[in-house]
Amino acid sequence: MELFGIFFSAFLINNILLIRFIALCSFFGVSTKINTAIGMGSAVIFVMTISSAVSWLIYNGILAPFHLEFLRTAVFILVIAALVQLEELYMKKMVPSMYRAMGIYLPLITTNCAILAVAFLAIDYKYNFLQSMVYSLGVSMGYTLAIILFAHLRDRMALAPIPKWFQGYPIAFITAALMSLAFLGFNGMFGL
């Protein structure tokens, strides 16, 4: 039940894009086509789950016992960058079909602040290993849900008559505001 609460809180109630405002660059950048949104979303699920496991182990296994907590910013970003490179190499060699589907999104993920933010937040919330796994799964699925919905909306917007000053980014922000309003409605669900 507790794990269920963590998952839904991360997935809908505190949706990382629409409520927490993390990783917005990619939210506006890669949501112009539905296929790219799906590719980016699945790449984020894959990388975030692995990198939060590794960063949890490094923090609680190495940094915390030796009182090196102040190094976490530098260590996490380097670990994540190296990990993404390794995952890319592994995928290219072992699962080429998966690599073709999401390979080009992997380098983009290194600079995706959601990955780093989840590593920090799991530590701030003092989650144990299992909880932080469930948390990162919830966050990354919430990311994918929001970015795919947004890509569908932007697809419709291409045909809509939009006032001249609002074309492009301004109308995208207004649309995101309405989506964020809808997600705010999940607040209080399951007593969270």
Binding site: L18, F21, C25, A117, Y169
Partner: protein, 194 residues
């Protein structure tokens, strides 16, 4: 000299023109004072890392420059993280995870790569100051608008009754609405000038 300083403020405003560094702008602009605190933290990291990277630009090998930039930036982010934690605990709690996340703010790595790596120390510092002013201008403007409409106050001073303020403006959707309308107004103004 002046052109380094001014390009970041209007012509290449990082937030409203280049659309980079958006996450903290939306997340911490719930009040003017939070916006100001975040601007100062970003300004410190940007100016200091620009200066150090410009100093080291001749000895940093080209192939591994990005990891080196990241180490330099994360050093200054850690300093500002700990200073804020020690001296401004309330602000530190309000800004939360966005303080360590300055390290992945595209503005800082972007200026390191595009400017500080190719220019001498003094002009890199000026570029850092200009970009920080542009970032602060956008962030504090949004913070003032949201605080005024959402809570009826500016920098904590009550101007209109909080009873008639629209709380939605300090909730997440208000951030998207404010920045969307600001960008549309900017488009309109630009069109008129031409």
């Amino acid at each position: 000299m002046f052109k380094y300083l001014s390009s970041g403020i209007i012509k290449e405003n990082p937030v409203l023109r280049l659309m980079i560094g958006l996450c903290p702008v939306l997340a911490v602009s719930t009040s003017a004072i939070n916006a100001l605190g975040m601007s100062i933290a970003v300004a410190f990291v940007l100016v200091a890392s620009n200066a150090v990277i410009a100093m080291l630009r001749k000895i940093v090998p080209d192939e591994i420059r990005i990891p080196i930039f990241i180490i330099i930036i994360s050093t200054f982010v850690t300093i500002s993280d700990y200073v804020m934690h020690a001296y401004y605990p309330a602000l530190y709690v309000a800004l939360g995870v966005f303080v360590p996340l300055i390290v992945v703010n595209c503005i800082i790595l972007g200026r390191a790569e595009a400017f500080a790596y190719k220019n001498p120390v003094f002009s890199s510092i000026l570029d850092g100051i200009g970009m920080s002013l542009g970032f602060a201008l956008a962030l504090v403007t949004i913070g003032v608008i949201r605080e005024l409409l959402g809570a009826g106050s500016v920098f904590g001073i009550q101007l209109i009754s909080s009873g008639i303020a629209a709380t939605i403006m300090i909730l997440p959707p208000g951030a998207f609405i404010t920045i969307g309308i600001l960008m549309a107004l900017l488009n309109k103004m630009e069109n008129k000038v031409q």
